[in-house]
């Protein structure tokens, strides 16, 4: 008896270890397949992916419910699709790198549960459109999209096309539905107090263009007891990817510190030393408090895109009063009360330097078994300029209950949309945000940006708060990039 058990156990072990071994070659074969497909794509530009539907489940992976909700809206509008398919959405927050870890694993594992459609944020989209992970993406052309014509017809913001193009084969693999050109969002009451006017053109001329004028304006704000900005981080997005920056973080696999980006060290130091800010951190409670005007000092401006206004500032403006009632989910019902907070006291004007920040990009898995459906959905989200398309609804606030408006990637849609919002006291924000997208460039993006940005800002914080000197900060930054990201530092 013992012998039989022993034999069975040994067999089990052998089979187990063999199973473990065989799991290695399978992905290798998959990589070979990819190589084969990319090769064939190079020869016959955009070979159409075929529908080999294994199931009726459309897997979607995202970091917010935004895109899954859009797909649900698409399903609702197309009964013939919703009859046949089901949506299975997986939403993982980006905090602590959770989303990318989950997405990388799901893409690498493949199979029926791999996402058919997945999303990437501007901060890390280059990893999925240009880096190693770009191998998983299907070219839009392979999904039945006539890329050149449809992009041109919709007048899609050029920088989003640059960001979404895979350098290996020049194929477009990702597009955003938002355009996130940024502006200076400033408080009208403070503007009147400091500069004697709240006219956007006059304020834009006071605070820019260029950083010298920005700091001159900061000085004037300081003299009246205001902070120019809430956090040093607000300025980083502008210094990171403005029109003056010549090259991104990585050039020829070697770290490149652009003078404009390096200058951010000095800007940060000036801001902290002279007290031009409330020294908060972006996305912290103190940052939100500054939006409501309840921080240390009243803050004159934030630098950001339209989504910052509608999705972050409006809700945190401190003008929402609880009615004492609760809704069906037990959350307190709030109503707007403009006598408190800062709602309606804001305006937008051109930022001192043109830049963009944020945006969600939509990608398709090259192994999707529902290429036609995925192509239709992606077209609906990123390229459809009709009034039934997503972007028109998104720009005019037709999707959300509270009518939140946003800038979108297609200039055609922008032209027929109305960007008047109460938060800006009725100013049409599209007048400023629309042209702002023209300054943006997607050419600086590298797959390692998110990690390098984080390491750089660690040093900026340390240097600006007097923890170390400038040379040490740059030296430590280089060491960290070499020893954590794996980029040569020359």
């Amino acid at each position: 008896m013992k012998k039989i058990i022993a034999t069975a156990l040994t067999l089990g072990m052998v089979v187990g270890s063999l199973a473990a071994c065989t799991s290695t070659p399978t992905p290798t074969e998959a990589t070979k397949d990819t190589e084969a497909t990319t090769e064939s794509k190079e020869t016959t530009e955009a070979s159409q992916l075929t529908d080999a539907e294994e199931d009726n489940i459309l897997n979607v992976m995202s970091f917010t419910v935004e895109v899954p909700d859009m797909i649900k809206a698409y399903f609702k509008a197309h009964p013939e699709v919703s009859e046949k398919y089901e949506i299975k959405d997986t939403v993982v927050a980006t905090d602590g790198g959770g989303y990318q870890t989950a997405l990388d694993a799901a893409l690498a594992a493949g199979g029926a549960d791999a996402p058919d459609i997945y999303c990437a944020e501007d901060a890390f989209v280059a990893k999925y459109s240009k880096g190693d992970a770009a191998q998983f993406a299907a070219p839009y052309a392979a999904l039945g999209i006539d890329v050149d014509k449809e992009v041109a017809d919709a007048k899609i913001a050029n920088y989003t096309v640059e960001l979404g193009t895979r350098p290996d084969d020049g194929a477009l693999v990702a597009l955003a539905y938002q355009a996130t050109g940024c502006a200076m969002i400033y408080r009208r009451d403070i503007a009147k107090d400091v500069f004697g006017t709240d006219d956007p053109a006059a304020i834009a001329a006071e605070c820019g263009p260029g950083m010298d004028k920005f700091f001159a304006a900061a000085d004037k704000c300081k003299a009246k007891g205001y902070a120019m900005i809430s956090s040093v981080g607000d300025l980083w997005n502008m210094c990171k990817a403005n029109t003056e920056v010549k090259a991104g973080w990585v050039v020829d696999d070697t770290l490149n510190i652009d003078p404009q980006r390096e200058a951010f060290l000095d800007y940060a130091k000036t801001i902290i030393d002279k007290g031009y800010s409330n020294d908060t951190g972006t996305w912290s409670e103190a940052w939100y408090a500054d939006m409501a005007g309840s921080g240390d000092k009243q803050v004159f401006c934030f630098l950001g895109p339209a989504w910052l206004i509608n999705y972050v500032m409006a809700g945190n403006s401190g003008s929402w009063k609880e009615t004492g009632e609760t809704d069906a989910d037990g959350n307190p019902v709030k109503e707007l009360d403009t006598s408190i907070g800062t709602y309606g006291k804001w305006a937008v004007c051109d930022s001192p330097l043109g830049f963009f920040w944020g945006g969600s990009y939509v990608l398709a898995n090259k192994d999707t078994d529902k290429a036609t459906l995925v192509g239709d959905i992606i077209r609906y989200i990123t390229l459809d300029t009709s009034e039934n398309g997503l972007q028109y609804a998104w720009a005019n606030g037709l999707l959300s209950d509270d009518g939140t408006k946003d800038t979108v990637a297609s200039a055609v849609v922008m032209d027929k949309s109305d960007g008047k919002v109460d938060f800006l006291a009725g100013q049409n924000m599209f007048d400023v945000f629309g042209p702002a997208g023209d300054f943006a460039t997607g050419k600086l993006a590298t797959p390692y940006d998110e990690d390098i940005n984080r390491l750089f800002n660690d040093q900026v914080t340390a240097y600006s708060h007097g923890e170390k000197d400038r040379d040490a900060a740059i030296a430590d930054f280089k060491t960290n990039v070499a020893e954590q990201v794996g980029i040569n530092v020359g």
């Binding site: 008896m1 013992k2 058990i5 022993a6 069975a8 156990l9 089990g12 072990m13 187990g16 270890s17 199973a19 473990a20 071994c21 290695t24 992905p27 290798t28 990589t31 602590g96 790198g97 990318q100 870890t101 990388d104 893409l107 690498a108 880096g131 190693d132 992970a133 191998q135 998983f136 409330n278 020294d279 908060t280 951190g281 912290s284 409670e285 103190a286 408090a289 921080g295 240390d296 390692y448 998110e450 990690d451 390098i452 984080r454 660690d458 040093q459 914080t461 340390a462 708060h465 923890e467 170390k468 430590d476 060491t479 960290n480 020893e483 954590q484 990201v485 794996g486 980029i487």
Partner: protein
């Protein structure tokens, strides 16, 4: 028929262990060997599985050993572990002495034990996020309190020492209850007759604690020390979620660095594997040292004496055995 009279229960043991053995082989042993192999290769990049062995097989190890980050992170990890373990063991011993004292009758002992153990039940992630917002700057509960008593806000999470102190405190606060429970179970396992005898002989509580309790729970203390050391050198979640190893790599632990190597930037699996193996070696050596230092010296002596005796007997047999014949 006669053969079947004795039932061997051993086979059930084998049968029940099959699931473990199989999962262990697939999910533990195979990854270990895979890591071992990858450390000598050029494997980098997401979802790549084809790799080549390096011409200089130890290139990755050289990279790790010469990198500043490895030294910093190792020093951080060791420092933060030691700073948390000493007060943790002290506190746990103190509570153990109180809760197991037979003359000091503490009311609600069970409730206290549960309360002390509670922090261990909360997920580390939750605690890290909680402390992050507690020490928010310039606004957060702690800074609000400071402002209220007329002090300026302090940027705790931008200061190296205060961030380390917060990590150390969290580790201490999460784990002293666990250590206490382990030690209490060890003390309960001591034969009460020994304590009674000591009492009759007039030993005071202090003497009882140091002369009886501590020597008797030494094996369990070794267990606590070794497991805590392994856990401490693998410290990851709290520093990661509190401040992502910051500020300026002040709470960068070895595990966090390995994570950064393997799952961010260039996805350098090979270097991460090499670093993992080095950490494994370090833990192994330190564990062996601890086992050696904390071995039962009397027993070791007795063992040696027995061996010597046996040797002498053999020698004598050799010498006198023949002669006696």
């Amino acid at each position: 028929m006669g053969k079947r009279k004795t039932i061997s229960y051993a086979r059930y043991g084998y049968i029940f262990s099959i699931p473990f053995v199989i999962t262990f082989l697939i999910f533990s042993l195979y990854p270990i060997f895979y890591t071992l192999v990858v450390g000598f290769t050029d494997l980098q990049g997401i979802a790549k599985t084809d790799f080549h062995f390096l011409k200089n097989p130890f290139q990755n190890f050289q990279f790790v050993l010469t990198s500043d980050t490895f030294k910093t992170s190792l020093a951080n990890t060791a420092g933060m572990w030691i700073c948390n373990f000493i007060p943790q063991l002290g506190m746990a011993l103190l509570l153990t002495a109180w809760y197991t004292d037979r003359r000091m009758r503490i009311r609600g002992k069970g409730a206290f034990k549960v309360i002390v153990y509670l922090p261990n039940i909360i997920t580390a992630a939750t605690i890290a996020i909680l402390f992050k917002s507690l020490f928010g700057y310039p606004m957060g509960p702690v800074n609000d309190f400071l402002n209220r008593i007329g002090k300026d806000s302090v940027y705790f999470l931008n200061n190296k020492m205060s961030t380390r102190a917060i990590v150390v405190f969290i580790q201490f606060w999460m784990w002293y209850g666990y250590t206490m429970v382990t030690l209490i179970s060890a003390v309960i396992g001591i034969d009460p007759g020994i304590f009674e005898a000591a009492e009759l002989d007039g030993a005071n509580r202090w003497q009882q604690f140091w002369r009886i309790t501590i020597p008797c729970i030494r094996p369990i203390m070794l267990f606590v020390l070794v497991t805590s050391m392994i856990g401490g050198l693998n410290m990851f979640d709290i520093p990661m979620l509190l401040n992502a190893g910051g500020p300026d790599s002040a709470t960068m632990t070895v595990s966090l660095w390995i994570y950064n190597l393997a799952f961010t930037g260039k996805h350098q699996y090979n270097r991460a594997a090499a670093a993992s193996m080095l950490v494994f070696t370090i833990i192994l050596i330190l564990s062996l040292i601890l086992f050696y230092i904390l071995r039962d010296k009397d027993e070791a002596k007795a063992l040696k004496a027995r061996k010597r005796e046996a040797k002498e007997r053999k020698m004598q047999e050799k010498l006198y055995g023949k002669a006696g014949f």
